[in-house]
């Protein structure tokens, strides 16, 4: 039934072949089979045409494979080669001496000890542990030892094209020494002041984003972690401890900020022009006694006896740290603006940094008002309560940004890599974002200076003052609800007119800001600026 007359005819077939390869042999005159009344038999298409398209499909598939090769072998190659799980890293770690890590003054933070066959890491300063981390054959690596593992072992340098030529070098490994911006004296002072209190200190050079100190207490002894014999027991014990010494509180600890968050609210308000420096709220003086009623919730100011005779403006409200004023401001600013301006500081994302960071948040994220559940949450968040959670690094960046006229620098630890072949790679300071224009940043800065040096502000935060040096800052007392003692916070910078250091200090359960964090920050900034107290 499928037979066509033409197929039986050798002469037609021969002529068809003469006309060109495989032209139709089926002919349209075949009787239409009864069971397919609609079918009209037509000549099948030439094969050569469809072959071209098939070839095109094959070409596209192989193009995708070539793109895959390029992706893994060019774009992702460095990342893959420095992954600590890569066996290459383990082999290189055994074969090549690892680079040394220095602080800003040339003090050695990590070095090799032992013989060539039994090489081991040694960490002279225990205080550097939250920054430097460790490198162990058993537990892998943490801190800068992890981030720069490939450069320290010499698998990867940061110079473009260097990997391309590796196969032509005699010595396949080219370990680099790390030169960091850490000031080990300041770091040690931060640990001394924290003592046995849990907490964290982050100090940053505002104009460059270079991290000067990054302390997290309690911490661990990296020399015991890398000990091949006792390391396992030690780490197991560390993991058991309920005060989490392995957690880097400075970059990954999430804390309620309390009043130090008012600086973020101020930036959102001034930046979006929802408030101005002279903004006042009529009812605020009397609400000092009654509380400010927001949809059934009363916002209260705890401190009495100051500034009840007239409505406060922005400077005064910041100096006395008025929750009521900031709750009003928060509602004026609105949920969208507050979230948007906070995200300009990096809230909501992991801060790109050489150590692992946790994202800070302004709200729980699941409410209808840009993540806020209602106006009550928004009003409370505006002065740093409700669901606001921040890392100390994030708050140090906030202070540092105000100090640097609104330009936020990318935080960084490593200044320079010097490879064993003599080549030097500089990692320059990078601007991250202009969070707010310089004029408004200075207004916020002025308010922060009042909060430390003003007649009322000095009551709370005066202890942060560096003697003889204009100092700006903001203290915070983060209520945790219930009977728990509040976290004690301070963020600030000095000198206020030409900042050299910005700082964030938190003491967990340390009580009011004035009690713990404020004097610690004063001592640390004074130390760093070389001012005796």
């Amino acid at each position: 039934m499928t037979q066509q007359p033409g197929r039986r005819d050798p002469w037609r077939r021969f002529r068809a072949r003469l006309r060109g390869s495989f032209r139709p042999r089926a002919v349209a005159t075949a009787p239409v089979p009864a069971l397919r009344p609609s079918a009209i038999q037509v000549a099948p298409p030439r094969i050569a045409g469809s072959l071209m398209r098939l070839a095109l499909a094959v070409a596209i598939a192989y193009g995708a494979l070539a793109a895959g090769l390029g992706y893994w072998q060019v774009l992702e190659a460095n990342k893959l080669s420095s992954d600590p799980l890569n066996p290459l890293v383990l082999v290189a770690a055994r074969q090549a001496p690892r680079g040394t890590i220095y602080d800003r003054n040339g003090n050695v933070l990590a070095r090799n000890v032992g013989t060539e066959d039994d090489r081991q890491r040694s960490y002279p300063y225990l205080a550097a542990a939250p920054v430097v981390g460790y490198r162990s054959d058993i537990f892998g690596a943490a801190g800068l030892e992890r981030t720069y593992d490939a450069q320290l072992t010499g698998l990867v340098t940061l110079r473009p094209g260097d990997e391309l030529l590796r196969k032509f070098r005699d010595q396949p490994y080219n370990p680099s020494d790390l030169y960091t911006s850490l000031d080990i004296d300041l770091q040690q002072a931060a640990f001394d002041l924290l003592g046995d209190q849990r907490g964290a200190v982050v100090a940053i050079e505002p104009t460059t984003g270079r991290v000067l100190a990054l302390a997290s207490n309690p911490t661990y002894n990296p020399n015991r972690v890398v000990d091949p014999d006792a390391g396992r027991d030690y780490v197991a014990a560390l993991r058991e401890r309920e005060d989490s010494p392995l957690l880097n509180r400075a970059t990954q600890g999430l804390y309620v900020p309390g009043s130090v968050f008012k600086i973020v609210t101020a930036v959102a308000g001034l930046g979006s022009a929802a408030i101005g420096p002279e903004t006042t709220y009529e009812n605020q003086p009397e609400e000092y006694d009654t509380g400010f009623l927001v949809d059934g919730f009363r916002v209260r100011d705890s401190r009495r006896g100051v500034q009840t005779d007239h409505p406060l403006n922005f400077y005064e409200a910041t100096e006395v740290s008025s929750n009521i004023w900031y709750a009003h401001a928060g509602l004026d600013i609105g949920a969208d603006n507050l979230v948007a301006w906070a995200s300009r500081f990096g809230f909501g994302d992991r801060i790109p940094f050489e150590l692992a960071t946790s994202p800070s948040q302004v709200n729980g994220g699941d409410g209808p008002l840009a993540g806020f559940q209602d106006r009550v949450e928004l009003a409370n968040a505006a002065y740093g309560q409700a669901e606001v959670l921040v890392t100390p690094l994030q708050m140090a960046l906030v202070a540092s940004t105000i100090a640097n006229d609104g330009l936020m620098m990318k935080p960084k630890l490593v200044d320079e890599l010097r490879a064993s072949d003599g080549s030097v790679t500089r990692l320059d300071a990078q601007g991250w974002s202009q969070v707010i224009d310089p004029g408004r940043a200075q207004a916020v800065g002025n308010a922060m200076q009042l909060a430390v040096e003003g007649p009322f502000g000095s009551e709370f935060a005066g202890a942060a003052k560096v003697p003889g040096v204009p100092t700006a800052g903001k203290s915070g007392t983060a209520q945790l609800g219930g009977e728990a003692a509040p976290h004690s916070w301070f963020i600030g910078y000095a000198p206020a007119d030409a900042p050299l250091i910005a700082i964030a200090v938190i003491v967990e359960g340390g009580g009011a800001g004035a009690q713990r964090a404020v004097p610690m920050a004063g001592r640390l900034m004074s130390n760093y600026l070389g001012v005796a107290r």
Partner: protein, 479 residues
């Protein structure tokens, strides 16, 4: 010389020189010698060839095959064989370079390691290649008995259920006495022969539309039934045997052939929709399919467990970079543990990309593209539909298979275990792919016997016609 020529002429053989093939084989030989020297010099630290009998045995073999082609005087394609010889040569370099104890076999009281065994299989595979290319002078035996071939292939596959050996969760290897092999490799060629024969016969019907289902115009059901039934059976068996790579290969080759035969984009779209539906069913029905897809999407969720193999391969790419570490300088094992499980079979492409770099891997991909170009060219100039479709199918078998495993290695598609033709370790694969190239060479010969004027008196097509009639009655009854 002249006397010899005359002697050959007297038995009907006219030698024909193949200069292009000779030149290309010389380039292949020089490249492999340089590669071997590079490997041995890296090992010993000084410039030397080391113990090179393995390499020279191989080079001797490919020139002997070339001479055989010349003497028998067949006017075949001169590029396909050097391409295959290059791929197999690269494979030998890699096998020589990998730890030899990955595979050991006792033969005649001697213990052979990975490279020796691979050389033995390569020589056997190339013997099959040469024999097929020289001896096949007619395709009647293929086109006439397509149902018989298909039945044999499927029977062989079914035997795996009885005499099969389970490796890596999949029942792939047929073991009968001392002989073992993977029938799914052989079946891919048999399926191509069957599909080419069937499609060539029914091409005009299949490309003229009749039934409309939604936006798709379908050919009459009875004309598809025998083909779909056989192909579906093969597909079902390999899926049950967990040979997902073979299943994917069968499917893509079928789709490619169907398109070439009919030039109907709607078939391809329909096929892809069926593929998506089928994949969804497989994904929901089989945990091992889910695992494959999950590993493909997120290997780093379990870097020491499920994602281990894939991640280790990615590291290999990273180590290789653009120029590669150089032969011997990569890291196929740490201590005594291979850095990638199955590095000599499923992951040979990663080993290659590590030591030869992106450029080397691109070169190998280019060799497969070259095979595609030659194969499609042979198809486009073939004497009739059957030969054209057969050449297309044979080309696709090699090219698509290489793309499936390279794509799996590169995380472009989910990983399915299948060999990289001519490069992966494995006997069945080398023998069958040798036969595939051999057939392509035979098809490329303009002097091959012309296609038979008619083929529909054969037993098998009578059976097929009856099946179609039965299907037709079925459709009539349904409508």
């Amino acid at each position: 010389m002249i006397a010899m020529r005359r002697a050959l002429f007297s038995v009907g053989i006219r030698p024909h020189l193949r200069w292009r093939e000779l030149g290309l084989l010389t380039i292949v030989a020089l490249t492999l010698v340089v590669g071997w020297a590079s490997l041995q010099s890296f090992r010993s630290g000084q410039l030397e060839m080391g113990e090179a009998s393995l390499l020279f045995t191989y080079l001797l073999a490919i020139f002997v095959i070339h001479t055989a082609f010349v003497i028998t005087g067949r006017r075949m394609d001169e590029i396909l064989f050097p391409t295959a010889a290059m791929l197999a040569g690269i494979s030998l370099l890699l096998m020589e370079r990998l730890p030899q104890d990955l595979v050991t076999q006792q033969i005649l009281g001697r213990e052979l390691g990975l490279a020796d065994v691979q050389l033995a299989w390569t020589l056997l595979g190339f013997t099959v290649l040469a024999a097929t290319a020289i001896l096949v002078r007619s395709d009647g035996w293929l086109r006439r008995y397509k149902y018989t071939w298909a039945a044999l292939g499927i029977g062989l596959l079914l035997l795996v259920f009885v005499f099969g050996e389970v490796t890596g969760g999949a029942r792939l290897t047929l073991v009968i006495g001392p002989i073992s092999g993977q029938p799914s490799e052989l079946l891919k060629v048999i399926l191509v022969v069957f599909l080419a024969g069937y499609l060539a016969e029914n091409r005009s019907l299949l490309s003229s539309a009749s039934t409309r289902v939604g936006p798709f115009r379908l050919p009459p059901l009875p004309y598809l039934l025998p083909m779909l039934a056989l192909w579906g059976l093969a597909l079902a068996i390999v899926i049950v045997q967990r040979d997902l790579g073979a299943a994917l290969l069968y499917f893509l080759v079928f789709l490619g052939l169907l398109y070439v035969a009919t030039r109907r984009a709607s078939y391809v779209v329909l096929g892809l929709l069926l593929f998506l539906a089928g994949s969804a069913v497989l994904y929901l029905a089989f945990p091992h399919v889910q695992d494959r897809v999950d590993i493909w999407l997120n290997p780093f969720t379990d870097p020491q467990g499920a994602g281990y193999q894939v991640i280790r391969a990615l590291y290999a790419y990273g180590r290789g970079g653009v120029l590669g570490t150089g032969l011997g300088a990569g890291l196929p094992q740490v201590g005594s543990v291979p850095s990638i499980p199955a590095i000599h079979t499923d992951f040979i492409f990663a080993a290659l990309a590590e030591e030869m770099g992106m450029l080397g891997a691109l070169g190998v991909l280019g060799l497969y593209v070259l095979i595609a170009q030659r194969g499609f060219r042979i198809a486009a100039t073939a004497a009739d539909d059957f030969r054209a479709l057969l050449a297309t199918g044979l080309t696709l078998v090699i090219v698509v298979q290489a793309a499936i495993i390279a794509g799996g290695n590169l995380r472009v598609v989910p990983l399915t275990g299948i060999t990289l033709p001519f490069v992966s370790y494995g006997g069945s694969s080398l023998l069958v792919n040798g036969a595939v190239i051999g057939l392509l060479l035979a098809l490329s010969d303009r002097g091959v016997e012309p296609p038979p004027p008619d083929q529909r008196t054969s037993m098998s097509s009578r059976i097929g016609r009856r099946a179609r009639r039965a299907g037709g009655r079925l459709e009539e009854a349904l409508s």
